[in-house]
Symmetry: C2
Subunit: 404 residues, 2 copies
């Protein structure tokens, strides 16, 4: 199994149609409305932001999934406006969009899954969206080109389209997964959010999909950080329409599907970090010898969200003292004298003290676009790979040089 | 009571002697060794970093204070080397310094309180320190000039000396407090730490001082953040030598002393934030309507440590959506529809939605060197003032542009 995307030909599952349109929300005039449809419906599972400030579409998503018992006919995404901090009027606006799409597809509004991304605190121009729905619906098409158009229309400040697709075989049948994603810092100048849509033609119940999705998210989107901020709109959705005739519950399927799903999610996570605002380096933090994966994640986040560590990476500086200090402040009860740190293959810290390493070689390695940092905690056998990036002056420019 | 320092004439308590010297640890050739002595001894209380990675002097400090039952004769501080991540050899080096100073002052080593600040992971050049001890001891003097020399010798990357002094009267007696501090990010390129030394001539037991100090630290040094990083060497020490003949336990003294101590600590906290690496703005976050001070602090830290909020401040951008989102991700169970946010007197967010405000006026206010942001949580009656600063490209330069 090889993950394909965004370049090359893609593995698009059967039984989905995609479309995009221009509603006029984005001032740039770019496409800002996207549709994905499962004409015969699909089972769905979704995970949402843990932020207490939650955008209107997420509130409607939860209600719709409950009412439809986890069935989705279509996803509708607008970019350019997050519909967040917009109160009851914002919720009514989202419901209005669902009703318009539902009417066009001749289905009840609870089978529509809405998303929004863009500026916070400004009411959604709902008439612009509903006016564009007929165009959107008539543009529906199967295949790669339509899927790419969907992936492009959900972008806001992303500099690159983010797509990952894969498949596995069961006898003479193929199960495909295609996923599109947007996100590059967590919140750009007023523009928010990571949105992930994963489409597959496996056959599964909402409960089966939920287990598969949560497990895959833990080792992908929950194992990365650009700047430690959590958006108000973050959403990961998995749809399964059963068009492959392969059942998730059949012998041998669940494991293959899970591997495939994890690879797709991890590929998207890497694409997000590579497109991180101002990021010059992707760092793969390998936390080893933790007592649990949760503990490994806590240490990884403490390192990945330290401005001092991230700026040292920007300067290609093998400053292991800052990494060690971040391990120490993580809240995990580490014994510093058991901590080892490696940058690439060079051991920069041994037993909590300076290791033996060639500083020039490490400095050269840190000039690479991507490299590994391995941290051993000496506490147990759990481990986690966590993706992050450096903090550059460009990040500050992107997020500060904005005048209202 | 007015706090004085660093400018103007200072209130220096009776019965202390200060000194500084050049041991040759700093490559700049600046003074890097400082001494503060209470010739008749003093009661002591100290708080230390919560980082699990703890520098050698802090380990020795804890042991010495235990052995001496909270009595201190002299403080010795070296700048230029943190003596952190240096293992058993680092601890032996600190003990050696204590022995040398103890011998010179004719006192057992457990009455010496050592501190170090500077580069991490490099062994302390202990011979350089001990060789400078005779010079240091013979330079001891009372009064303002010697105190200023002490405050200057403990600096590393600080661009300004940090001093706060105050006094209060009980009948015809004066109780004075003089404090010196160093710190500007939490950890500069390999250079670490906030160190605070508070000297008073009140009379009190170590237990009384401990209560007073912990309470003052909560509303000063624990209510501020430059970059969310916690150093391995952070230390706040309070010494009381009783020279004023005013007892902390006497009627009316404790409250006056506490007020005085808090003002001194808050003044130093402000000086640290104003000297924050690359900081262009000091922001006074006023968190109101929390259920507890701990909860208010949790929200304040979530705001103050958000790179997106801090970069918006750098750009003088009244981006209340980022502040609201940081409140939402704080882990406190806020109801967004109860949250109000004010920048200066302008309400930028009302009930979790956009407030009514003059964007130009807010933008102008945010160009000021210092201003207030008030966040009401709608949960209770606790409040906290928390100091922080913006995140500028200069911060990244300072911390990244360093080549090994």
């Amino acid at each position: 199994m090889t993950v394909r995307g965004p370049e090359g030909s893609l593995h698009i599952p059967e039984g989905y149609r995609f479309a995009s349109a221009t509603a006029g929300i984005k001032q740039s005039g770019r496409q800002d409305l996207a549709l994905a449809e499962a004409p015969f419906g699909a089972s769905a599972a979704a995970v949402f932001t843990r932020n207490r400030v939650v955008a209107a579409p997420l509130i409607v998503d939860r209600a719709n999934l409950k009412k439809s018992a986890g069935r989705v006919r279509a996803v509708v995404v607008n970019s350019g406006n997050a519909n967040c901090a917009t109160g009851k009027r914002g919720i009514a606006a989202t419901e209005h969009v669902c009703a318009a799409v539902g009417t066009a597809l001749e289905v009840a509004p609870e089978f529509i899954f809405p998303s929004s991304t863009g500026i916070i605190g400004v009411q959604l121009p709902v008439e612009k969206v509903t006016a564009a729905v007929p165009d959107l619906v008539s543009a529906r098409a199967e295949g790669e080109q339509a899927f790419r158009a969907f992936a492009e229309a959900i972008m806001t400040t992303d500099t690159k389209v983010k797509i990952a697709t894969a498949y596995f075989e069961m006898g003479n049948r193929k199960v495909k997964i295609a996923a599109a994603c947007k996100g590059s810092g967590m919140i750009h100048p007023d523009l928010a959010t990571m949105l992930v849509y994963i489409f597959t033609d496996v056959s599964g119940s909402p409960a089966q999909l939920d287990r598969a999705l949560r497990s895959a998210v833990e080792v992908s989107f929950n194992a990365m950080s650009v700047d430690g901020d959590t958006s108000t709109n973050d959403t990961v959705l998995l749809l399964a329409n059963g068009a492959s005739d392969v059942k998730l519950g059949a012998a041998g399927v669940a494991k293959k599907f899970q591997n495939c799903l994890v690879e797709v999610c991890q590929s998207l996570a890497e694409q997000v970090i590579r497109d991180g605002e101002g990021a010059k380096h992707l760092i793969r933090l390998q936390i080893e010898q933790a007592r649990s994966v949760a503990e490994a994640r806590q240490v990884a986040r403490s390192i990945a969200n330290s401005p001092l560590v991230k700026t040292a990476w920007a300067g290609c500086d093998p400053n292991w003292g800052r990494i060690l200090s971040s391990v120490g402040k993580s809240g995990v009860d580490v014994s510093p004298e058991k901590v080892n740190i490696f940058i690439g293959k060079q051991q920069v810290c041994r037993a909590g003290m300076v290791g033996s390493f060639d500083a020039n070689a490490v400095h050269e390695l840190m000039k690479q676009r991507e490299y590994d940092i391995r941290v051993q905690l000496g506490r147990g056998r759990a481990e986690l790979t966590f993706l992050t990036c450096d903090l550059t002056t460009e990040y500050v420019h992107i997020n500060a040089d904005y005048s209202t």
